[in-house]
Amino acid sequence: MMILKKIITLSLSILASNAFGQQESATIQLTAEKLHSRVREWPYPVNGITVPTNAPALLWPGTNGKEMVKPMESGSTVPEDPNIGNVRYKVMLARDKYFKKDLLSSSEQRWAVYPLHQALKPGKWYWKYGYALKGSNQWTWSAVYDFVVDAKYANEKVAPPIREVLKRNEGSHPLLWDMNRIGEDFYRNNLDNPEAKKFIVFAEKLMLAPLPTEKPQRIIDTTGKTPLEKKIIVERMYHGFGDAVGNPVRNLCIAYQLTKDKRFILDAKRRALNIANMNPDGLATGDDFTSGAVLEALGWFYDAGYDFLTPQEKEQFKNIITLRAKRVYNHLPNRFELHVSDNHVWQITLRNLAIATVAVINDVPEAKEWLTYMYEVWSARFPVLGTTDGGWHEGNGYFRVNFKSIIYLSQMFGDFSGVDYFKLPWMQNLPYYMLYTHPNGAATTAIGDMWENVPYIVKAEAWFADALTYRMNNPFLNDYVNGIKRDHPNYFHGTDDYLFFRLLNYKPNRNLPTSSPALLPKTRKFADVGVVAMHENLAQADKSLSSYLFSSPFGSSGHGHASQNAFTINFKGKVLFGGTGYYSNFSDKHNLLFYRTSKAYNTILADSLNQKIGEEGYGWIPRAISGQHIQYALGDASNAYGEIKSDFWLDRFKQIKVVPNKENGYGESGVTLYRRHMLQLDGGYIVLYDELEANKAVKWTTQFHCPYYTIEGENSANANQQNFTVKTDLGNVNASVFANTPLKMKVHNKFFEPAVNWNKVTDDVGQIKDFKDQWHAGITSEAKQKFRFLTIIQVKDGKTEVIKTISNGNGISHLQVGDWDIHAQLDGEKTASLQVFGKAAQSLFNYGNLPIIFQGKTHKTKITGSSVLLEMEGNKVNKQEVIDELPDVAKYDSK
């Protein structure tokens, strides 16, 4: 097993190293079982890689003293390893492998991350980690790993060590948000802030509300439901209870800090005491979210209203805060930091715990450990996923759930450490991710859990983007927010969760220069999360065509779906092609057999089998080119297929007594290659070219899904070509799929597993969702080991064009549509080739071995197998040639 692992590691690293320098081959084939593991399975940094920083965080697989810590997470029924608290770790780091030179030796710790809090000298570094069981001094040490620090990072600011952070928090209450230092400025600065004034009026009304009791937010009938369904329904009945009772407490504290009017803090106290007395084991505040929200509110009040508490009340608050805080913290060390992204914690409960911890930092003895842990994990892992491209791996439906924590934790840890987390590369790229994947006036990318709730810019996105403008100087972000404010003035009523952040960072007469996104490239690749966004007109996405290709190095992790190499298309801001089905819960048949599977997506099935769900079903984006008239993306889902490996997901199947077998769409299909080239051409054309291979003959099905419109199949004369139209009021839309053998099309409006809203999930404005039928088209090949599909989708305001077949010789189909000439090699046994030429656009795209003749001249590629775009820039030919480039995780953090 060990040997096998090494071989995989070696082959990956050789291939990976090719991506840097003189890469001989244009194509990289990844062989790793996964790029991100659900919990860390290999150490970082290793294999002599050059880290992209002067102070890396050292990460290693956790152990319980006997074996590696396995995936467990909040909300799962997989029982937590009872032994994760049995070990402690130490780290040694030096400039020689005998650990003599510049040795850094850590103190003992309970968690498996070690962020450096000092700049390392440029050069090679060696490190190892060791663990010992509780009560033992026998240390087991890992192998020695090495990495390189490049001098170019020498001057980067490094987050200070925890002792400095703790020292900074040694003052008197209120400690949160540095209020004991900035409180007076905060008060004065906001005296004339119109938003603050409005908020105070709102807070006045809050005081009039009756004290809440422990009652459900909504009643849902559980008659005839299974015990598991009942449990989920009860959670839904109380979902939001914590915020409903906690937010008024926080808001009244804020009102007090804005006004120094004691009425507010006294009413906050009355309400805080009320929730402090709520049953921590009851249905209303007993789950991780509701309890966390109560914890945060109690922390807020304890800190802001400290002077208004009697000693007995202080004790009462400390006790309940400690109880609820431990409930979160005790499940974190040696687990949470190892997890690729334990959703509930990163989304919400880490923020709840951090706020409560700072509030009691000097009053509850355990709080210093809590803060140390959170600060270390934050320093090592934020923004959660070790990415820099600004994107989110689960799609945008669930990205927004993280917004509040991103904003407030960045603010809080920035207060402590002096590091501006809003200047991290990920943060700097974030505005572009938002702009490209969810432009104003348009629907978001139609992928991942709950995307269907984001058909336009929703409040959380608006507030988050706006909040970012307070700490960033990005004219495109400012323009984005201006547009949102113009179109959704009702969102900004001054009582939202981001208000306090705005008050903290309030500057009268802010200067917010803007730039139009028209100045930005039409295409942008977000390689870490595996998204390419291609826009006809990014400045007017509500009037034009946008298309997206997805292939995620995270696989279908968390709220992400098995949608590798799926495309989506938005037209005039509406989702034309996207994922289908409806989100209800992970433990739901429709969810596990359709919604999060490849069957729901515009990607390919092999023998009707899905990609595997879990981190193992990964893809990646090797290439993208932004052109003037041709946009290009290449996705690779070669590693996405096969049996489900993820215990987390297998457990979900077990919970609802469904077997992920072939009848249900899961299992080994033998896929070894699936590279999808996607082009968006001026004039309303999308071209897909799929290179497919398996270790046996399989039937390939390329799928198309319209969540909101009807698909109508068209009879085709030629069985090697299948066509359908989409009935939509947006314009004229059709698609043609070509192959070199007969294809069979099925158009229908039935889910593989029916969608039933049994737990009464609601949309963003609280309406119970109607799970309507949606339309699907599947076009299936004969059983072939090597296969190609060519797809041309036309999305037009006016008439669609007839696609003319010019010739079909030697497997090469020569087609003409509108102004575009397309050559594609459709014979899977021959070298894959695609050439697209626009006469009027004076643009040529080439991949493969067809001769390239552009503007009367023959052009050659630098590297065989590259993708080339030739366009005219005035009288000059502008040539862009790209080859495969690995995402950062494969460059830096492979086994």
């Binding site: 003959a697 009879n715 085709s716 004369a717 030629n718 069985a719 090697n720 070509q721 070199n740 053998t741 007969p742 069979k744 299936t780 004969e782 059983a783 072939k784 007839v802 696609i803 003319k804 077949t805 010019i806 010739s807 079909n808 010789g809 020569h814």
Partner: protein
């Protein structure tokens, strides 16, 4: 400049009158006529004087098959000279622009380029708009839409073309719809074109064929797909023997109807004095089950559905009348043959046989094995069930890509009705394997991606 010159040089040839070297070509095509539905073929239950006359003035090929027994695929093969598996046109298809590759020349275009006047009258059912003359090359194209009495109008439209072009070499396709109306008759609907009197009692109808019963060891998939497709196409699954006999009666009457119209077309040649300088090819797009193996319709690879009439005839006495049992495929052989007769340049990529050589020299052996194909469909909807037949002088091997029993092997000499499936007999193992291997090699050599899974 080059193009201009080329244009100039081709124009004079257009006006060159017909000569013995550049005879007219008249292709007469019926729809769904099985090879034996002619009196000249020995069928006593019908009377086809026009077809018989053609056979009496030419060569009747007794082992001629269509490329695929379904309308559009067969017609695309006839019009392109390529097999359906090569072009992808394996299903029935609407007229639609864009799908027919520009570089796959159509019969009309080939002859137009060769300086011939070109005409097409009657049923089209090709995946090219009739209006797109630049692609199909038939300058005169008429009566292609479904109408009452379509076939009755075809001789008239043909006559006009013949009259207008009597001084020029021409290619004319007279494409009749009958006996296709048997499909409507079979399900009790009004016929598409003509009216037919009620069938007499069964005992006054033709007898059931000797191979009427469903044979043993038949691949189940062919009957299973009948159920999927339904009674509209296959009402015969519930037929009594009596009803089958009436079916055969009606079929024969429809053949006789079309024979009468063919007679009119032939009369026009005579009327305008070009009878002697016109090569006539008579064929059909595919056959009909005609109660053999209890099958109506086509698609299946049995002889009744796949074998079609094929006569090459010239009314000048130049061809000694005879029959010929060389294997012919009308789908791929017609274009090379008419190019052979006329000297019109044949596209290099065509693999079919030039039968004009066989007419000139009856001793020539141009083909010993033929492969044809099928793809079962519910009208325009393909079912994913493909088949191939390998036909030799004596044997026929049929294989489908689905089901437990996929293969059939018949000794056509001893068992022309294809009743005894030798594929299940141990003593024929060798022949079976040889056929299987032949097909595999053939597919490989010809780029046919058919896979039986055997």
């Amino acid at each position: 400049m080059f193009l201009c010159l080329l244009g100039l040089t081709t124009i004079p040839s257009v006006s060159v009158a017909q000569t013995a070297e550049r005879p007219n070509i008249l292709i007469i095509m019926t729809d769904q006529q099985t090879a034996d539905a002619m009196s000249i073929a020995g069928n006593k239950n019908l009377h086809t004087p026009a077809m018989d006359k053609l056979a009496q003035n030419g060569v009747r090929f007794t082992k001629a098959y269509c490329a695929q027994p379904l309308c559009s695929p067969s017609r695309t093969a006839i019009m392109s000279g390529k097999m359906p598996y090569e072009t992808g046109f394996i299903g029935n298809a609407p007229e639609k622009d864009g799908q027919w590759p520009d570089d796959l020349l159509m019969m009309g275009k080939i002859f137009q380029n060769g300086g011939y006047k070109t005409g097409y009258v009657g049923k089209w059912h090709l995946p090219v708009p009739t209006t797109k003359k630049s692609q199909h090359g038939f300058e005169y194209i008429e009566n292609t839409n479904f109408l009452d009495y379509n076939d009755a109008a075809t001789p008239s439209f043909c006559a006009r073309f013949i009259k207008d072009n009597k001084s020029n070499p021409f290619l004319l396709v007279a494409s009749f719809l009958n006996p296709h109306d048997i499909c409507e008759w079979a399900r009790g609907e009004d016929l598409k074109m003509d009216v037919l009197e009620d069938a007499p009692p069964a005992d006054q109808c033709p007898p059931l064929p000797a191979n009427w019963e469903i044979p043993a060891h038949e691949p189940k998939i062919v009957r299973e797909q009948q159920v999927t497709v339904g009674l509209r196409t296959y009402p015969s699954v519930n037929y009594t023997p009596e009803k089958w006999r009436q079916y055969r009666w009606a079929y024969n009457r429809l053949v006789e109807k079309v024979d009468g119209y063919i007679e009119m077309v032939l009369a026009s040649l005579k009327k305008y004095g070009i009878e002697k300088n016109t090569v006539i090819i008579f064929t059909a797009d595919h056959g009909d089950g005609n109660a053999g193996h209890s099958w109506n319709q086509k698609q299946i690879l049995y002889e009744e559905a796949a074998k079609i009439p094929f006569i090459i005839s010239k009314m000048d006495g130049s061809i000694a009348p005879r029959t010929d049992d060389m294997l012919v495929c009308n789908g791929i052989d017609i274009i090379p043959t008419i190019c052979g007769f006329t000297g019109v340049a044949k596209p290099d990529y065509l693999k079919g046989i030039d039968l004009s050589k066989k007419i000139a020299n009856p001793e020539l052996k141009l083909r010993d094995t033929l492969v044809i194909e099928t793809d079962f469909a519910d009208n325009e909807d393909l079912l994913g069930i493909s088949g191939r037949a390998v036909i030799t002088k004596d044997f026929k091997y049929i294989v489908y890509n689905k089901g437990e029993i996929k293969e059939q092997l018949f000794d056509l000499t001893k068992d022309p009705g294809e009743i005894t499936n030798l594929a299940v007999k141990k003593s024929y193992k060798k022949q079976l394997i040889a056929m299987r291997n032949y097909l595999k090699q053939w597919c490989k050599k010809n780029g046919d991606t058919f896979e039986s899974g055997l």
